[in-house]
């Protein structure tokens, strides 16, 4: 475990060093991209100045809201759909083709309907994530061993208690896969929408800096987005590892 971690760190450090060298030698000119060391310094300065606190908060709050909605609605919907075989059959083709539709295309329509506030962005991010949660949760619910359901019946549990205490915990590794998608889609949905049309958020700031050739702002913010998603994913991986280890699946 430890050596692999070191190796990964080395690969990343090597890559950054390589880009740094390219920038310094002049193969990548500074108008295209400043060297990583300068981006880091710019980022540190920008964060210290506090001028991006507002946009960062806006993006993270909206992403968190969309994520929570996608997970709660997705899991609830999956439990209901799982119980109703007919609904399941009619929805399956819809789920199968869902991600062929670029949800972001609905963004202008949502702005017309809800105005240029948080709502359209949250709806986009929610729509992106919710179906991944539903599909993965359904997949997990399908795999709950029958004997666990029989045990629940022996304990005379109702359907709600069975869902919350038996089937969902049993399906947890699959639900978690859906949750990981929901996190990624929440960030993509919010930042993507901010990019297209918005009045605040990290995505808006990146687009604004881009339009003004402000590399000293644009690159640090891009790096910030990367750092945020890496941190979130690492936290989820730790949780997943615990969960799988406990079940002897890893």
């Amino acid at each position: 475990m430890k050596p692999i971690f070191l190796l990964r760190l080395l690969v990343i450090a090597g890559f950054i060093g390589f880009v740094e060298a390219l920038c310094r030698i002049g193969i990548i000119d500074n108008f295209t991209m400043p060297p990583p060391s300068r981006i880091a310094a710019d980022l540190a300065r920008a964060l210290a100045s506090g001028k991006f606190n507002g946009p960062i908060r806006a993006t993270l709050l909206n992403a968190a809201l969309a994520f929570c909605l996608a997970v709660t609605v997705g899991i609830t919907a999956a439990v209901v759909i799982h119980r109703l075989a007919a609904l399941r059959t009619s929805l399956d083709p819809f789920f199968a083709t869902y991600y062929a539709v670029p949800v972001l295309a609905f963004y202008p329509l949502l702005i017309i309907l809800f105005g240029l506030g948080s709502a359209p962005k949250v709806i986009i991010a929610f729509m992106l994530g919710v179906v991944a949660v539903i599909v993965n949760t359904l997949n997990g619910l399908d795999r709950v061993p029958r004997v666990l359901l029989k045990s629940a019946r022996m304990a005379r549990m109702g359907w709600f208690a069975t869902a919350t205490q038996i089937t969902l915990p049993s399906a947890a590794p699959f639900v978690l896969t859906g949750v990981k998608f929901a996190v990624a889609y929440a960030l993509i949905g919010i930042i993507g929408s901010e990019f297209i049309m918005s009045t605040d958020g990290i995505g808006f700031e990146i687009a604004f800096a881009y339009n003004n050739f402000d590399n000293a702002t644009m690159y640090p913010l891009i790096v910030l987005v990367m750092i945020i998603s890496i941190i979130v994913n690492m936290l989820l991986s730790i949780w997943e590892k615990q969960l799988l280890e406990r079940r002897g699946l890893r």
Binding site: M154, A161, R247
Partner: protein, 271 residues
Amino acid sequence: MPHDTNKVHVSLRHVTKTFRRAGGGQDVHALGPIDLDLKRGEFFAVVGPSGCGKSTLLEVLAGLTPVTDGTVVFEDQPIHGNVPDGVGVVFQEDACFPWMTVSDNIAFGLRQAGIPAAETARRVAAALELMGLGQFARSHPAQLSGGMRQRVCIARTLVLQPRLILLDEPFGALDQQTRLLMGEEVLRLWRETGATIFLITHALDEAAMLADRIGVMSARPGRLLEIVETGWAPDRDSTIVETPEFGQVTARLWQWLRVESMKSVGRMDRR
């Protein structure tokens, strides 16, 4: 002697089970017709060829599967696919909840039944001790061997103190020595609790050693071909296997089963 073995505890009359295949497939006639009375406090074992409907019979008794025809009466109340109070099952498959610790698994039924926490803790501790799982109270099932997981499932059922205990090949995952010891343990529990035990097993010697009566089932659809009475004293233990009577009981069981098992294997070949 705690056993009043004359009163009928469970009675099956003309019980039949046919699984309907959805989508126009062949129906499976799994069981019956079966007529059987389990007496209160008796130890009844069932042997039969693979796939003959033993587990189906157990699920009918547990109220997990409604019968297609016939009646099941438990403590004077009809059962028809509803789980009655006072019945405990240990399933053939591993039924441990992998996300719960061993302790929480054992406490599960007690908590669902709303037993006070102190009483739950007391019974769980006793069960851990009894099953030799004390050191593993805080482990998760994935960290245990198959036999230990089965012991968790047995403990989970016993702590509920059921009056009718249904065991579906509970020692299937255990080695021969542990099997014998667990068998003695079950005998002791049976004597102490006075519960009625219905045990499915594929080991003829196990049935012969543990049970008062042994039902021999036919190949599918499972019917009762014969009920063999062992006539053992209630305070028996595994030393009974040394007696000539034990040999006679197993020999009788094998006589009946040899033909039936060949039938069931022959049917598998033709499929």
